[in-house]
Each structure stands twice: as structure tokens, then as C-alpha cells.
């Protein structure tokens, strides 16, 4: 399948005046021509079949300024944010709002950044993830169209979140984007990435490289609400310098085949907090991969991913924690909890711990199963019948992750989405 992409994408070569970029693109193309899209032979892709890319040849969308469904788009843009809208992979300035950013903070499209600040992009590009990571990264390196560049200077705290909205509007197209996000020393920011699209077959590939300098703090949300017919790949690759903090909330609701990679490399005493919620129904396939590397001492990683699967949905969770020999005093825990609501639903969950240091605290756990009978009994002792109790607890299972969202408007949006996806009736929206 990869050959047809190679051939088709040859016409869509992006040639720039930047020799370093041309060489990255050329090398990535070479790499892609060798490895192609990931296959199930690769350990990291064992449970996920990308045949969907074969059924349709997803080509880059031509810029379509007739995008009229702004109403639908507007309801996804949160109040009180700086927003950047990418329509079919191309930045749309008219739909975006970046007014009033603090001095020295740079937020712009990747295309603009390559013109205005090529030296900055060059310094960061491919530093957090390389073309060898997977065929999809090579593909993205070679053919990314646009994306977002965000740089927050030292000691600067962005007082509003930056929301990046990916909208796919055309059938059979692929949006292929690349972000670079860099927070300088002690900078602080919140980034919300939203993925939506029309009810069509399309593909969205979004790769982000994130750089947190010493003591920087980033909270990032991902709200993946693609069409149930779409292919989605989102990769987040983070380099965390010492004392930096990264908090991630990953909500995976949409896509026919959806995959998210979150890889972070922790510096000394850095911390990451990875939260995830995936809800699948019909024949959705939702795959989440995380990799946490403890290469320095005293770092802390916490991870909790929860999944709710109904009908014939399938999910994959693969979480790797690597603790290098010198990473003493590592404190790490990783949990994956799943509820299967139908006997046709399926989860492949695989936590992997590789620990080479001896003075560490590491815990992990996986559950796949049913609701806690004791909790059902407790609710029954409080007047609630068994069916309602199960319903409440199923919702609560998901709601635990939603409640971690501190941004009020986003919280409401996600809650609405969960209720919409929620398989059982009778759950009231007033859980507050």
C-alpha cells in the first residue's frame, strides 16, 4: 500500500529554500520508501492494522476556502482562548484568533515560522522524534503541509490556553501536520488540541514535538473527536528538561482507526502525568501507546488510562516505562483500567516495565472487566436499583477522567461528548 502513496505524493513535493528542510524531507522520503506504513510485524503495531490506508488513497486536500460550516466549527472553539484553526491541514488565519499574545511569545503557523524563524525550527526539528520512529513519522517528515509553531519565552506564563483545532472537511483527503512547541525556562502554558471532521472517510496525521526547558510547565489536552469513518494518527514526542512538568489529558472518542502515541523523555526530577480516556463503539479501533523514559534520577511519572468499550469496538493500550541504570529514585506508576460492555468488545493491554536502576518505586496494574459488585451493593443500600447502579458506575468510570479537566468550558464539551457516546440511557447531565 505504501507504494501508491509514494507515487501519488511525489507530485506533492514541498520544495523550500531551506536546504536543511529539503534534506530532512528527502531523507524521510527515502526512509518511508524502505519501511512504508507500519505493519503488524512491528512490535509497536502488533494489534493495529492500517489496511484502512489501503482502501482509500488519501491525498492532500487542496486549499478550499469555501469552508462554510463555520457554525459547527465555532461550537468547538472554546471561549477565552487563543485559537489556531487548521482546515484540512492548512492554517486558516481568518478563522483563528491570536490577538494579544504577550511580547516575545511566538505563535504562528509552521509555514510562517519556516519563513520568519527558520533557525528556530531547524534547532528543534526532529530533536524529539526521528524518522526512524515509524513509517508514519517518516511520512509526516516528508509531506507535512503546515502546523503550529509555539514558543513561550523564559518565565512567561500564558494567561489563556492556546487551542489548536484540526478540521477535516473533505472526503478522501489527508491532513498531515507538524507542530513544534517549546517552553523556555520556567515558562508555563496550556494547550488544547481538538480534532473534528465531517462524516466522511478522511485521514489526519498530526505529529508534535514538544520541548520543555528547565522548570517549564505544560498542561496539554487532546480532544480527539474525529468522524467514526476517519483514520487518525496523533504523535506527541516530548523532551523534558530538569524539573519540568508535563500533564496530559488524552480523550479518544472518534475515528474508525485511531492511534495516539505519547512519548516523553524525563530529565532530572521532571514529572509527567498522563491521563487517558478512550470510549469505543460499533467497529471502532482505538489504540494508545505511551512511552515514558526515565533517564535521570528523581523523576516522577504517573499514568492512568481508562477505556470503555461497547459493541464490537477494539482498543489497544501499550504502555512502556523505561528506567535507566542512572535513574535512581524514580517514582513511577502506570495503570490501565478497562470496562467491556459487550462480549464482542476487545482490549489488548500490555504494560511493559524495563527497570535497570535498583533504588526505584515502580508500580503498574491492569484491569479488564466488570463493575465492582461491592459498589453496586453500596448503591443498592442507598435505594438505587441494580440496573441504575450499574449505569451510574459505568458513567462514573469514565467521568473520573473527565473530572480531571480543570478548564470549565472544555470540561463541559468533553462531558457532552461522553454523554453522546455513552451507550446506556438514563444518565443525567447534572452529575455535578
Amino acid at each position: 500500500m505504501s507504494e501508491q502513496y509514494l507515487k501519488a505524493y511525489d507530485e506533492h513535493r514541498f520544495v523550500s529554500s531551506l536546504p536543511w528542510l529539503n534534506s530532512i524531507r528527502a531523507s524521510a522520503k527515502q526512509q518511508f520508501s524502505q519501511v512504508g506504513f507500519p505493519t503488524q510485524i512491528e512490535e509497536e503495531w502488533r494489534y493495529t492494522n492500517l489496511a484502512i490506508l489501503n482502501k482509500t488513497l488519501f491525498l492532500p486536500a487542496v486549499l478550499d476556502n469555501n469552508f462554510l460550516e463555520t457554525e459547527c466549527l465555532q461550537q468547538h472553539i472554546l471561549p477565552d482562548v487563543w485559537s489556531m484553526v487548521l482546515v484540512d491541514g492548512h492554517f486558516n488565519a481568518a478563522l483563528s484568533n491570536l490577538a494579544g499574545l504577550p511580547d516575545n511569545t511566538l505563535v504562528m503557523s509552521m509555514q510562517e515560522a519556516l519563513v520568519q524563524h527558520p533557525e528556530k525550527i531547524e534547532a528543534y526539528f526532529s530533536q524529539a522524534v526521528s524518522e526512524e520512529e515509524s513509517g508514519l513519522i517518516a511520512f509526516n517528515n516528508s509531506w507535512f503541509m503546515d502546523g503550529v509553531f509555539c514558543y513561550v519565552p523564559a518565565n512567561c506564563q500564558l494567561e489563556k490556553p492556546l487551542q489548536i483545532i484540526h478540521v477535516s472537511t473533505q472526503a478522501n483527503t489527508m491532513a498531515n501536520t507538524r507542530h513544534i512547541i517549546a517552553l523556555d525556562v520556567s515558562a508555563q502554558a496550556e494547550i488544547i488540541e481538538t480534532f473534528i471532521g465531517v462524516d466522511e472517510h478522511y485521514a489526519c496525521v498530526a505529529v508534535s514535538e514538544i520541548f520543555l526547558a528547565d522548570n517549564a510547565q505544560l498542561t496539554a489536552y487532546k480532544m480527539q473527536s474525529e468522524s467514526d469513518k476517519a483514520f487518525h494518527f496523533g504523535g506527541l514526542y516530548i523532551k523534558q528538561a530538569r524539573d519540568s512538568q508535563f500533564i496530559h489529558h488524552n480523550f479518544a472518542f472518534g475515528g474508525r482507526v485511531a492511534r495516539t502515541d505519547v512519548h516523553t523523555d524525563l530529565g532530572q526530577a521532571a514529572s509527567c502525568d498522563l491521563n487517558g480516556l478512550y470510549i469505543g463503539a460499533s467497529r471502532q479501533h482505538i489504540d494508545n501507546h505511551t512511552r515514558i523514559e526515565h533517564n535521570q534520577p528523581h523523576a516522577v511519572s504517573k499514568e492512568l488510562y481508562k477505556g470503555l468499550l461497547d459493541e464490537r469496538a477494539r482498543a489497544v493500550f501499550q504502555g512502556r516505562v523505561l528506567v535507566a541504570e542512572q535513574a535512581q529514585k524514580t517514582d513511577s506508576n502506570m495503570y490501565n483500567r478497562n470496562l467491556l460492555l459487550s462480549d464482542k468488545a476487545e482490549i489488548d493491554t500490555k504494560p511493559q516495565l524495563e527497570i535497570y536502576a535498583d533504588d526505584v518505586k515502580c508500580a503498574h496494574g491492569v484491569t479488564v472487566g466488570q463493575l465492582d459488585e461491592k459498589l453496586i451493593a453500596y448503591l443498592q443500600a442507598r435505594c438505587i436499583d441494580e440496573a441504575t447502579a450499574k449505569n451510574m458506575l459505568t458513567f462514573a468510570f469514565a467521568n473520573e477522567m473527565v473530572e480531571k479537566v480543570n478548564n470549565k468550558a472544555l470540561y463541559k464539551q468533553i462531558l457532552a461528548k461522553v454523554l453522546e457516546k455513552f451507550p446506556q440511557k438514563g444518565i443525567e447531565a447534572d452529575w455535578l
Binding site: 443500600a381 435505594c383 441504575t388
Partner: protein
């Protein structure tokens, strides 16, 4: 209100309750004391309808009905409330949601309409003040991250909202400091009325200083071995359970 006759209960092959006889009338406060493992919690669980117990003999009549034939949630709606010895945490379900869902289920059972949202808020705020809890507890997940004492107070808050007829308190006083004990006791005392009865399981006479029982029972090895007035608790504290068990033997 409640009449337990010759109740035998086992878990698997193990007999735990071995012939309990107990009658509680409306308006009365009964205390049950007894050594660890005597079967006190088992009795409370059997009354509330928890599964996993086999009734091998005997009967329980509540307000004229066969209590053991009712589903647990029906017992609760009929006014049997158990404050658990170890209240469970329910992540993702807020306290106020549970209170509302429970109250509405009870009202529906009684043929009453759903509680009005404003009335409910007023009621809840009133009761939460009574138990000297912060309002923020309403919006937190049920018991999640609560201290031991906060969990116990939360159980009494639920009772205060549901206004049950028969309140079974399983070691609600254990682990409370003196201030919390006073607050919880005040909450319980505010519920006392001529048409409501209490069954309090406790290890400590201290509780009975704040909630004066009409009758004290000693439960040992699955049987009530002695019953008496409030003074029995004082005697027990002084002489220990062995004294009663020896007397009974």
C-alpha cells in the same frame, strides 16, 4: 418495628449467627456490643440485604413485612438504613448526585414526585451544616479521599437526607476524635423521634454518653448473651466481655 426471631446465618459452611432474637420498637435506641468477630456486622449486612449470606433458620419482620424477601434497594426505600462500618469510595459519582438519586428513588417508591431542585439544595445545605461539613464535600466523589471521620459523617449525612425509619449504625463512632464524635452524635440525636428506631453497633461506651441507649445487648459468638439497660455498657467497660460470656456459660 423490627422483630428478629431465631436468626441463623452462615457464610459457606461457616455458621456466624446462631439464633438471634431481637425486638426493636419505634422510638427505641438499641446498642449492640461484643467482641471482634462476634457477628455484629454480619447482622447489619443481613438486615440491609447484602448478598453472600445464607439464612439457614429464622425470620426478620419489619413493619409487618418479611424483610428477608425484599431486594436490598426496596429495604432501603422502605426505610432501613445501614451506616457502613467501612464506607466505600465511589470515584466519579459526586456526593450530591448520589444523595439526589437516592432520595428520588425513595420518593418514587412512596409515590411522591421528584424533589424540586431548589428544595433539595436547601435541604442538603441544611443537613451538611448540621454535620459541620464543608459544602465542597457535596461536589466531591463519594468518600473519595475523605478521612475516616469524614466518611462516617458522610454516612450520617445520607441518613439525615433519607430520614429512614430504622437506622443501623455499624461502628459509626470508631476512629472518631472527640469533636467528630460530638458532631456525629448530634446528627444522630437530631434524627431521634418517636417513629424512628436505632440499632447502634459499637465497641465503646464513650458513644453511649452522647447517644443514650434504651437497651444494650451483648453479642458473642453469634448469639445475644445478655441484654440490659444503659448501665450494662458501663459494667462491660469495667469487667470486659469475658465476664458476660462466663455468666452465660
Amino acid at each position: 418495628m423490627l422483630s428478629i426471631k431465631n436468626l441463623h446465618v452462615s457464610v459457606g459452611d461457616k455458621a456466624i449467627l446462631k439464633g438471634i432474637n431481637l425486638t426493636i420498637n419505634a422510638g427505641e435506641v438499641h446498642a449492640i456490643m461484643g467482641p471482634n468477630g462476634a457477628g455484629k456486622s454480619t447482622l447489619s449486612h443481613v438486615l440491609s440485604g447484602k448478598s453472600g449470606y445464607t439464612i439457614t433458620e429464622g425470620s426478620v419482620t419489619y413493619k409487618g413485612q418479611d424483610l428477608l424477601a425484599l431486594a436490598p434497594e426496596i429495604r432501603a426505600r422502605e426505610g432501613v438504613f445501614l451506616a457502613f462500618q467501612y464506607p466505600l469510595e465511589i470515584p466519579g459519582v459526586s456526593n450530591i448526585y448520589l444523595l439526589k438519586a437516592a432520595l428520588n428513588a425513595m420518593r418514587q417508591h412512596q409515590g411522591l414526585p421528584e424533589v424540586d431542585a431548589m428544595d433539595f439544595l436547601t435541604l442538603v445545605k441544611d443537613k451538611i451544616k448540621l454535620l459541620e461539613m464543608d459544602q465542597s464535600f457535596l461536589y466531591r466523589s463519594v468518600n473519595e479521599g475523605f478521612s475516616g471521620g469524614e466518611k462516617k459523617r458522610n454516612e450520617i449525612l445520607q441518613a439525615a437526607i433519607l430520614e429512614p425509619s430504622l437506622c443501623v449504625l455499624d461502628e459509626t463512632d470508631s476512629g472518631l476524635d472527640i469533636d467528630a464524635l460530638k458532631i456525629v452524635s448530634a446528627g444522630v440525636n437530631s434524627l431521634r423521634s418517636a417513629d424512628r428506631a436505632f440499632l447502634m453497633i459499637t465497641h465503646y461506651q464513650r458513644l453511649l454518653d452522647y447517644i443514650k441507649p434504651d437497651i444494650v445487648h451483648v453479642l458473642a459468638d453469634g448469639k445475644i448473651v445478655k441484654s440490659g439497660g444503659a448501665e450494662l455498657a458501663l459494667e462491660l467497660e469495667e469487667k470486659g466481655y469475658n465476664w458476660v460470656e462466663e455468666q452465660a456459660a
